[in-house]
Amino acid sequence: MKKFVSVLLVLALALSVFSFASAETVEEIIAQAQEMTLEELFQKAVEESNGKRFDAVGNSSRGKSVLPLFVAELQKIDPNYVLDGADDGWQQPKENKIFDQLTKDIEGSNHTFAMTLIQDGNQIQSKMLDTGLLLNFVPKEWREAEGVAKENNETPLALQTLNKVFMFNNTGSKTFKNMWDFVREGEHPLFMGVNSELVGKNFLYMMTNEKYATWAKEAYEVWDGKSEVYDELIEDIKADCEDLGLTGENANYGLAWVYLWCEAYKEETDDGPICTTLVTKSAVDQAGLLVYSKLRSVEETDESSVNNITVAAYQDDYVGIGGYAYKHYLMLTKTSTLPWTSCALIAYMTTTEAGFHAWGKDMGGYAPVPACMTDHSKDGYVDGVDTYPAKNDRGYDWWLNEGKLVVEDPAYCAQVSGMMGPYIDGIVNAK
């Protein structure tokens, strides 16, 4: 009996060693993949995942639409190629659960996920990169692409930058010509809850960064609602800046705006409802801060129309910040179930127009590789007529400069979030 058991153990040991020895680690695969072309990666993908199950998790709902196109590409190489999960393998968890899901999947012994599309640089840094749970892959063609914007988009690899912009319903008489108009007395702009959509909280953190706080100051000085009450607040809040460790000279303007915004905003569960609300005739004088691309999904009826909305920054006389930008990153899990396929998919999405199309087909998403992007500056045109001006996307460059977008900087967020987090929670809670 004993002999039998020990023989079994030895066999088992040998088998496991063997299996370890024969499998490449994900790091090794990535290292190889980074030197391969898209075609080569497709080839590898077909070999690896034909008939297998693909699961991924991401913050964007549009991942689903990429998969069928990807499968079609692979079928050019092998007509019999099938990928299980092309319909339902893409999950989009809400309420910040994506971090838990990834952690549990990677640290557990049963791995489901191949890769992820994830946002919120702050949490990514501390929970995923520092701990080594997610691995970065930069395709060869991406590095070599013409005009690629490498800064802030390489490590980790960004699929796109998205913007969330100030919009308001224009069927009434109210105007919003200054960023401070959104926080004036009586306004309740619609906004996703800061603790469920954390990139929103990052935006508030960034407002205290000197660059953006200065824009806030400049806007304040020409604001027609400027008054002693606000002056007092701005002065008073300097003490808070000190407490919170905010060192910028104009940080108090940024923080004051953040304070007023937190007091004022009305929490919604998602940008979708915000959009559907603002486009209706009855949402008179309502405003909101939501992802620009949602405008793509409005169906024109008597009640709802894209023309009921104005994008604040598009107004010629608008002063101040037009919104904020955040990124979607693509990474493989350390324990990726289909590493070659993931690399191929990432390369497909980030370097080809077809691959990026799921995001590129609408306004509000900007790829680092210019070749991927579609021009959306005339999206509002129907049969040559400018019918829906709000949909005409003026492009990434415009948004960064004229649009005055606040761009997420993970390092800065990490620096201030420790103190500012509870500060913001306190304001929101007391509402």
């Binding site: 709902s61 319909d87 339902d88 999950q91 968890p93 309420e95 659960k97 971090f99 838990d100 549990k104 999947d105 557990g108 012994s109 049963n110 489901t112 949490q123 501390s126 929970k127 309740h188 603790n195 469920s196 607040l233 008073d236 003490a239 808070d240 407490d243 919170l244 460790g245 905010l246 060192t247 009305k266 919604e268 569960t269 998602d270 979708g272 409802p273 559907t276 609300t277 209706t280 009855s282 004088d285 309502q286 999904s297 169906e299 009826t301 008597d302 009640e303 709802s304 799921a358 609408d362 390092a411 620096q415 420790g418 103190m419 509870p422 500060y423 913001i424 306190g426 809670n429 007391a430």
Partner: protein, 641 residues
């Protein structure tokens, strides 16, 4: 010496014989095994929550922050350092506890800088609200459900058959559908921001803020949801009450109200108590309703805090657990005192019904309207919602019927958006059907597991009434039922972190569901086993009929109805359970998380459509099983009828 040794040996042998005799009775063996298993499945997750509160979570406030700068931030770092300790080689911290209860944060309220206690932001309002809504929900449910129970069983109310069937609809529907319906009805651009709800757009009435959001609607919706519960429990007692008791009082010329207060009400007390215990913890643990109606409760706060205050979120879960234990202790105290059978004497004949006289028709009509509004109207609303072009877009009501569409059901292509955010229509949506499949798997497995274990517990405990171990097993099985769903969910969520490949698996969901719902089956089984004379089984024991044959040929056939009810209830509840499962799996796993996802995304057509399908399914099931076996949800909850 020899004699002493012999004594020891024979003592040992005696103990062994005793143990063996004990074990050879099946009910004892089962009780032993179940007791151990349940202790593990109930206590271990609870312990892991406690453990989590002292763990260090990377990326959260209890982890050291290398980027900290500024005086206050460094102060915090010092506190974290002080709270750090190691135990058995594990890094732990008391920071979460210390900070939550004694920490302060800088913030600004009403334009004034405030040093606010951490508890005042993250704990106190949530705790207060949770307790308040639970109390109000109990009160409301008992009031509404109890009055209805009285009217149906004791008066000559009209349309009884229809009313009692429809009354339980709000309980069958997933909790938050009423909340969403409330929003759709009463929200208005002027008051709550966003677009107009039905009332505002059709009648121009803007309901005030307190009506639309916060404590009032949450309590109200919870009351309506749990009123059927109270109705079934209290109505059950009314129905089985011996008419003689009240008649004796009547003969003595006691005024009606006095009879009610001094005779009827005390008899109904146990049912009221049961209702309170069950509704209290269910209300406290509810996540979706306060989430949609904008109220800060322990459960909503937990979810929010999970992002960067995970350890403190677990403390909230611990608090919820403590409530559950408290409720269990109260339950113990009250049920040990009262009589444990409301045995059907069969003598409750046609007691004279209270004549409502002139009030009869108005009251009947009132209840018809109420039940229509709360039971049927939501279903109609859901159906309508699935044909609206944009979520919440009621423009067709203004006459333009072309503003209705079937895209939400039938759309089958991927590329042009048509406002569906990349989703296919319900009938073609693979995700939705997979989620349905997932829900069915979980529900069936839960029902089987919970039903079998619960029935066995009921059987074993009824046979061992005086045994302390039996009482313990009964209580430990009951505990998860009394704990807020979210706390149980959290317990298993943290458990899944410690046990590999459990997260997002059906096994985890089935485990959590079974542990939570065993009491449905054990209660129903215990109640009916208690009413079964022990002699029935003894007659078979004497004839040396083995245990499995006794169960299969005698006990189970006799108890068929209550056993099936014991299976039915977990099944139905699983189908529409969200709070318990939402932390444990991704959103495509089961239909309720899918539903929640669509609601969050504002794709109300999908969520309404799924809701509709769910409700119809549950109703169909209930009717089918009722026809086939006589069991149904109401007899399951009520336990005896």
């Amino acid at each position: 010496m020899e004699a002493a040794k012999k004594q020891n040996v024979s003592n040992l042998r005696r103990k062994w014989n005793k143990f063996w005799t004990y074990i050879s009775k099946p009910q004892n063996a089962i009780l032993l095994v179940l007791g151990i298993i349940l202790t593990v499945t109930t206590i271990y997750p609870m312990v892991t929550i406690l453990n989590d509160t002292v763990q260090i979570h990377p990326g959260s406030i209890d982890a050291p922050d290398p980027n900290a700068s500024g005086a206050k931030a460094l102060e915090k770092e010092a506190e974290k350092e002080a709270a750090h300790f190691t135990l058995l080689g594990n890094e732990m911290t008391t920071y979460n506890w210390v900070n939550l209860f004694t920490g302060t944060e800088i913030t600004r309220i009403n334009r004034k800088r405030v040093e606010m206690a951490v508890a005042a932001t993250y704990l106190i309002p949530a705790l207060k609200n949770s307790v308040l809504i639970s109390i109000f929900a109990c009160f409301g449910a008992i009031l509404y459900g109890g009055i209805f129970a009285y009217l149906v069983t004791r008066t000559n109310l009209r349309f009884k058959k229809y009313l009692s069937a429809i009354f339980i609809f709000p309980y069958i529907m997933p909790q938050w559908t009423l909340a969403v319906m409330w929003e759709n009805l009463f929200d208005s651009a002027a008051i709550t921001g966003g677009s107009d709800g039905l009332f505002a757009s059709l009648f121009g009435i803007n309901m005030p803020q307190w009506w639309c959001e916060g404590l009032f609607p949450v309590s109200l919706v919870l009351s309506i949801h749990y009123a059927p519960f109270a109705y079934i429990l209290i109505g059950g007692i009314f129905r089985n009450m011996d008419a003689n008791l009240e008649e004796a009082a009547t003969i003595l010329n006691t005024p009606r109200y006095k009879t009610f207060a001094r005779v009827t009400l005390p008899l109904v007390k146990p049912a009221i108590l049961s209702t309170i215990l069950l509704v209290f913890s269910s209300a406290m643990g509810s996540y979706p309703i306060p989430h949609y109606l904008g109220l800060d409760t322990l459960s909503t706060r937990y979810v929010q805090m999970n992002a960067d205050r995970a350890g403190q979120a677990s403390i909230l879960a611990v608090i919820m657990m403590l409530f559950g234990i408290l409720i269990m202790i109260v339950n113990q105290k009250t049920t040990s005192g009262r009589k444990n059978y409301t045995t059907v004497t069969g003598k409750s004949g046609q007691s004279s019904l209270v004549n409502l006289r002139l009030a009869r028709t108005p009251i009947s009509i009132l209840f018809i309207l109420l039940t229509l509004f709360m039971g049927i109207f939501p279903i109609i609303l859901f159906a309508v919602e699935t044909f609206l072009p944009n979520p919440g877009d009621y423009s067709f009501l203004k006459g333009n019927t072309s503003a209705l569409t079937t895209k939400w059901w039938l759309n089958n292509e991927n590329v042009t958006e048509q406002g569906m955010y990349g989703q296919k229509g319900i009938l073609y949506n693979a995700e939705i059907w997979n989620a349905f499949k997932g829900t069915f798997i979980v529900a069936i497995c839960c029902a089987l597991a919970a039903g079998i274990i619960g029935t066995l517990i009921g059987y074993c405990v009824s046979k061992n009434r005086r045994s302390k171990w039996a009482a313990y097993v009964n209580n430990i099985a009951f505990l998860p039922y009394l704990m807020p769903s979210l706390a149980v969910g959290v317990a298993f969520f943290i458990l899944s972190a410690n046990i590999p490949n459990l997260y997002n698996s059906f096994l985890l969901l089935i485990l959590a569901g079974t542990v939570k719902y065993i009491p449905f089956a054990s209660r129903s089984s215990l109640n009916s086993m208690m009413q079964l004379s022990g002699e029935i089984e003894e007659a078979a024991i004497i004839q040396d009929i083995p245990w499995w044959k006794r169960m299969g040929r005698i006990i189970i056939p006799i108890q068929k109805t209550s056993i099936i009810s014991g299976f039915l209830l977990p099944f139905m509840t699983c189908l529409r359970e969200l709070t318990l499962f939402m932390l444990l799996c991704g959103q495509g796993k089961i239909i309720t998380t899918m539903l929640g996802y669509f609601d969050e995304m504002g794709l109300y057509a999908f969520s309404s459509g799924i809701n509709l399908i769910l409700i119809i399914m549950i109703l169909a099931f209930n009717a089918l099983i009722n026809k086939l076996t006589g069991a149904s949800i109401d007899s399951g909850i009520g336990g005896d009828s």
